[in-house]
Subunit: 363 residues, 2 copies
């Protein structure tokens, strides 16, 4: 039931960094943090549940590596990801004496990573940070690529910075404490990686889906590794979302964000909204003649096997259209919308919100 | 009385940008903004005094270049440089529909540039921005090099980002509306450029000092140009303050910041505090045997001719020491303090706050 640790390198010149993937090796993180950040003091940010389970082990490992640690807990809710919380973190870290030779460490899911990363990006004009993701979503997506940010009342991630971590440390054993619902939600981004980039990987997911959900490391580690490699490759080709390659990662996200916004972020998981958005985008790809018939079906089936929703709940076309209009991906009037050409290959097309959500409710 | 515009290039690879130096050519800024940012919409940030004098001209020039303009005025005080103001700017720009193809333009002094630059660095994870500096300080220092940021109650510039502008547009005619005190304060950074980097330039300042203060373009433009070139060269060698070269720009700033903090930012100009800090650092350089006797004298004389203070007002060693300890340049216990080896050559040494401010009041 065990597997050797793997390392995926995110290749970004002087901003390159390794993603370590192991099982049950959280105790090794301290040495790696010291080595990759050069820090002598760290601020560790986590949420209560994760902190209770893993906080003491991480703190012990950091201290054993000679690091002074200031531990801060933030409320476990996406509503925590705001400027007020960033300001509280600045205060805590100034009081603790964190200086330019210090680093931040995010222990938790995507929210903790985004919040901590943005704080690191802007504290004293930027200090290093490390991600210890404890959700599937954070492992394969949020922790890789340097997107950090917080929400405004007008929308998600409207404020942020590109700030690459110095290290991502994944211990898949931390996934055991995740609820089945959260585990499944995270798998949406794994399915996305296959759908937009790698048909063979998609087939592997269809085959290994059940063992992955049971967290069998022999199935899980290779699946997470490949998802990380795909994300790393996309980020390497287009670090700052300029050439359009990175935009492919938005597959399922345009409608997904609108659904999250319309339902309220507490009531639907990001991955669930993205699952619905991917099925919708795959169906639209077929309907617009961009992908062959039969493209959406396997995606819908795999997501359903993972226990993810595939239909828009409480469909309200006007509300969803309005939500899309403040989406930060909007440029001018048209929206860059990611469609599939087939499973394993995506492209961006310019569509108006009305073309994305046609007047008839999506079939 | 006129002089041809000059262009100084800040050479930072894909983040390179030009500094345009002219006199009376504010009307040309719109085309340059459109060309260098690629934006179709801009947010223009300014303060009441500058806005009243130059706002309409800049807006007209931007609109003539086909740009949609949202103009925002912020209070003219360093206290404006805070996170609450940044949040207000986010709100205004979201309401105005600024997207990733938009840019910000800062029209004013260093405060406006720092605030606008930080907002641009973090709005939608970063959009381009242009500096139109209207003070000497902003022209030769604050607008060049990509340091952006805001103050926290604990200290100045504790939050920020490195975000290079796409263009700096200097029209020296805008200096005419500056009070003599503000003009002089800005010259402190010009003197600094000579003191740390270029003895011949320092000699030129001694020669042309009066004509520069009268804003004679034939003396002023070459002086500003050389100061910009020195700043650009330092930034090119050490964009993110990593190798120590950029730290030389902190000459006079360690004590300067402490004085500003202790007196309150409203009661002393940044340049005045830096002038005092430079004289102190030059004297300490002599006292520590790092620079030959007679190094501090000419600096003190030149600053005095410009009407700048050279002695610490209301000296309070304990308060100044305390203020230095939260300076963000602090690393570990010792402070990187910039001393002179001679006029035109500086170096950083590690000193404790007590070595910088010896127990006896500085002579």
């Amino acid at each position: 039931m065990s597997a050797r640790p793997r390392v995926v390198r995110v290749d970004l010149g002087e901003r390159s960094y390794p993603i370590h993937l192991g099982t049950g090796d959280l105790d090794g993180v301290g040495d790696a943090v010291a080595r990759h950040t050069g820090a002598n003091q760290v601020g560790l940010v986590t949420v209560p549940g994760v902190g209770r389970r893993y906080g003491a082990r991480v703190v012990r490992s950091l201290r054993a590596a000679g690091l002074k640690v200031t531990r801060v807990q933030v409320p476990d809710s996406d509503a925590t990801k705001n400027l007020g919380q960033v300001r509280k973190l600045y205060d805590r870290f100034l009081t603790a004496g964190l200086d330019r030779k210090s680093a931040l460490v995010a222990l938790g899911g995507g929210m903790v990573g985004d919040l901590t990363g943005f704080t690191a990006a802007t504290y004293l004009r930027g200090i290093p940070f490390v991600q210890i993701p404890t959700t599937v979503l954070a492992m394969v997506d949020a922790s890789i690529g340097g997107k950090t940010g917080v929400n405004l009342r007008q929308g998600k991630n409207l404020v942020g910075a590109f700030h690459q971590p110095s290290l991502v440390w994944i211990d898949t054993a931390t996934l055991r404490s995740l609820s089945p619902r959260d585990r499944a939600a995270g798998m949406a981004e794994v399915v996305k990686a296959g759908a937009i980039w790698d048909a063979r990987y998609f087939a592997r997911l269809e085959r290994d889906c059940d063992r992955v959900m049971e967290l069998d490391p022999r199935a899980l580690i290779p699946v997470l590794e490949r998802a990380c490699r795909i994300k790393a490759e996309v980020v390497r080709r287009d670090e700052r979302e300029e050439s359009g390659v990175r935009a492919l990662l938005n597959f399922g996200h345009t409608l997904g964000h609108a659904i999250e916004k319309q339902m309220g972020y507490r009531r639907i998981r990001h991955g669930e909204a993205v699952a619905i958005g991917m099925v919708h985008a795959a169906r639209r790809s077929e309907a617009l003649g961009l992908a062959p018939a039969g493209t959406a079906g396997p995606i819908e089936d795999l997501l359903a096997r993972l226990g993810l929703p595939t239909e828009i709940p409480r469909y309200d076309r006007r509300a969803h259209l309005a939500a899309m209009k403040v989406d930060k991906k909007k440029e001018g009037r048209k929206i860059h919308y990611v469609v599939l050409r087939r499973i394993g290959e995506a492209q961006t097309v310019e569509l108006s919100p009305a073309e994305i959500l046609p007047a008839r409710a999506p079939a």
